[in-house]
Structures are given as C-alpha cells and as structure tokens.
Amino acid sequence: MTKLTKTLKFRSLRYINENLMNILSPAFFVILWELLVYLGVLNPSYFPPPSKIFIRLIELFQTGELVTHTVATVYRLFFAFILAAVPGIAIGLLMGLSKTIRSIVDPIIALIYPIPKVAMLPLFMVIFGLGTPPIVVTAFITAFFIIILNTLAGVLNIDKVLFEAARNYGAKGWRLFIKVVLPGAMPMIFTGLRLGLGMSLIVVVASEFIATQSGLGYLIYISWRVLRVEDMYVGFVVTGILGYIVTRGLEKLSDKLMPWREEKVVI
C-alpha cells in the first residue's frame, strides 16, 4: 500500500470513528444510567431508569396525550417564531440601512432588551387571559428583539469595501439591497433566527407551566404536581428532540441558502 492510500484509509477510518462515537457515547451514557439505578447508586424516585422512561413515553404516545402536548407546543413555537421573524428581519434591515431609524428605535430596544421577557408573562395573562395567546406573545417578544439585533449587526458588519465595489459597479437602490445588503446580512440573520428559535422554545415551555393546560411544559409541570417523575423525563426528552429538530432544520436551510459560507456554525 502506498503512503497516500494509507493516509486516506486512516482518514476515512477516523471519520467512521467520529460518526460511531456520536451514537456510542449517548448509548454508553444511557446504559451507565440504567446500571447505576439497578446498582442503587441513583435513586429511581429522582432518576428513573431510561427503560422505564421509554416505556412511559410509548404509553403516553398511545393514549394520544403526548401528541396533543407536543402539537400544542410546536404550534405556539412556530406561531411566535413566524410572528417575530418577519417584522424582526424587516426592522433590523431598516435600522441597518437608515441612521435615522436606528437612532429612533435603538433607545427603545436598549430599554426593553435586557428585561427577561418571561417576566412579562403575568402581564400578558392579565391582558389576554389564560391559554395560547399570552404564551405566544411572550415567546414572540423574546425572539423579536434577538432577531432585530442580529439582523442589524449583520447589515452593519458588511465590509465597507464591498459597498464601494458595489457602487463602483453601478449597484444602487433596490438592486443594491437585493444583491448586496441582503446576502451580506444573511449569515447574521440566520444566527438571529437560530438564537430566537432556541430562546422561544425555552420561553414557550416555561410559560406552559402556568398559563395553560396543554403543551410539553404543562406535561412536565403537572408531573411534578402528581409526582410522576417518569412523565417529567418524557417531557424533557421530547422537548430536547423538538429543539434539536428545529435548530437542525434551520441549519440545513441556511446551508442550502448559503452554500458559499466558509465554515459551519457550531451551536
């Protein structure tokens, strides 16, 4: 075997190893957990064995309860996210393009942004009553500011020399916007969307603790009230999977829209 093919073989082996590890390490973790429960190291009232959680997951799925809760959470999440993304990107772009708009909107954002939005949930419950509306509004506000600020940063961070080149080559007005500003800001827009979506999921689940009687947050919370710890873990697992799917989906979309990007983002 030549040195080159040896190296190549070694590399592909390492690649396989990495993929294998991605499956093996969580599997190892689950098995260890299971073992530690049976060995009496972990207290099953707090840390039920994964097998039991899995069985409970299947049960809750079969009764249809789990599907109802998941659908409720997904619905709220997407509703809030779309509500935040469209105007958030638009306002961020406008702020990036116009100093005047920036100077008007900036102080308002500076005031509201640092408040943990979930603290506003009680206010929205006063205004909208219980149920989906206050949850959606709280999650919307959370994502909204994150998306505005990241979009704004995206526009402001476009290399000045690219604007010079664009102007020198005759780009102006609408064309400049579509062909330079938008693609230039795109990576940061997607960062904002990803962060906004992640934070929205947190806020939706947290709000479901008290504002409603459906959703994964409600499932987790009610499991505490009736002390069904397995159900709580089912809530964690499904929320985790949901978070993983939506962020990965967004990542895939950004890879598709931006094949030119140098490096993939980690989180």
Partner: protein, 257 residues
C-alpha cells in the same frame, strides 16, 4: 494622443472627530488615452483618495475631474481593490458578471462576456468556486476579470497586488501588462512600490506627503517587456531620491485611512 482623464486642481479635505486632514491639494494630472499611469507616494499621501475621486466614490471639494467618453453606455471606471472586494456569496462567474448584471444585461449574454474574461485571466474551471475557496492571487484575477468584463473607459487599480506574495505578484504583473497591451485600456495604478511603478507604467507620478500634491512626473522610456537592467535600476533610484524625503515625512503623519 488625446487626453482621457483630466484632473484639474483637485483638492479634498476630510473632517473627522479627531481633526481636519487635507488629503489632496491642487492635483493636476492629464492622463492620455490608453496610457498606463502609475501613482506612487508615501503612506497617507491621498493617492487612494485620488483614485476614489476618479471613480466617483468621493467628491472633490474643489477642482475638476473629466473623463473622456469613447462610446455611450459604457461605465466610466471599474476599480480593482487591494482587498479584492469580491462578494463572498457569489461564485467566480457571478462576481465577474456583477457589473454587467447591475447594468441590466441578460444572464446569457453576461455569462458569455464573463466567460471570455475568466478565460483571459486564466480562471477557466473555477467558474463555480466561491471566493473563500481561492488563493489571494486567484481572487485578484477574479477582481481584474470583474473590472475588465464591465468594459470601463478607465481601469482603476488601488495597490491591487499589495497583499500578494512576491512570486504571485510578479506573475500577475506580467499578465496585467499583456492584457493591457491587448485591450489598450487607460489604467491608473496606485502603488507604493517603485519597482512596480517602473515595471508597469508609461509614466510615474510621485506625490508628496500629506497634503498630497504632484511632486514630479517621470516618464518611463524602457521597452516592454521590461527587465531589471541598469537603466531600470537607475530610474528606480532616481525616483527614490525624489520620494525619500516624502516617505520620511509621511512616517510622522498619522494614517488617513
């Protein structure tokens, strides 16, 4: 030969938070049609500002800039930047075709023109690569192809090879001269390298340290392709004598850009 670019008493002052900087002071240069003019000067002498004024990216406070049109509808200038300034989200062919696209030329036609210059710049096979996949030398080839594909009246180059390694720079200098001889474009080329200016230029304009003024204009009578012979070296040292004092003064000025 007729005049292509006429700069008459061009002055420019920048006002910033830190103070007022006079970048250009009564610069008058006549550039002939098809001429390769090099502008050399110390750091912060306003040579880039002058180029940007010719490009219309900056307005002079006073004075006149006139570019003679040869044909209606052609863009006046196309700039090649030291930082390449390629659009990272566009592949090579779309970068080269950018100016044509902005002028509303349909895709099929602009790709045909872009391909022609991609080939000319030795970029065939790289049409679908993105800028981050290219080396510095290849990036600047794309930068030059983008400028030429736009078919400007005047080609403006702002230290285009300044960020490249010595060998790559030499290769691109040779290619540039070949293409210039073929296309007969008027070129205004800003550099800080005396050797580069003498290697490329028909004339070399030496500018003073801030405020930038024309100190002296040297004519380079050497046959092309030029070699580093005694005549070449003699001219270089002559220009250096002229530039030395300015460069020394320039060091003590703070940077403009």
């Amino acid at each position: 030969m007729k005049t292509k670019i006429e700069l008459e008493n061009v002055s420019k002052t920048f006002v910033s938070r830190t103070g007022i900087v006079k970048a250009l002071d009564n610069v008058t240069i006549k550039i002939k049609d098809g001429e390769f003019l090099c502008i050399i000067g110390p750091t912060g002498c306003g040579k880039s500002t002058l180029l940007r004024i010719i490009a219309g990216l900056e307005k002079p406070d006073s004075g006149k800039v006139k570019i003679e049109k040869s044909k209606e509808g052609l863009p006046l200038t196309a700039m090649v930047f030291q930082e390449y300034a390629l659009f990272p989200w566009r592949n090579v062919i779309d970068n080269v075709a950018f100016g044509l696209e902005m002028r509303g030329i349909p895709r099929k036609e602009r790709y045909k023109i872009a391909k022609e210059y991609i080939e000319k710049m030795g970029l065939s096979g790289f049409e679908n690569k993105y800028p981050h996949q290219l080396s510095g030398g290849m990036k600047q080839r794309v930068g030059i192809a983008r400028a030429l594909a736009n078919n400007p009246e005047v080609l403006l180059m702002d230290e285009p090879f300044g960020a490249l390694d010595a060998q790559t720079r030499k290769i691109l200098q040779e290619e540039l001269i070949k293409i210039w001889e073929e296309l007969k474009k008027t070129v205004v080329y800003v550099t800080h390298s005396i050797e580069e200016a003498v290697l490329l230029g028909d004339r070399v304009v030496v500018m003073t340290s801030r405020p930038g003024k024309v100190k002296e204009i040297f004519r380079v009578e050497l046959e092309r392709p030029r070699a580093f012979d005694t005549e070449f070296t003699a001219l270089c040292s002559e220009i250096w004598e002229c530039l030395k004092e300015e460069a020394r003064r320039g060091m003590y000025c703070d940077q403009v850009n």
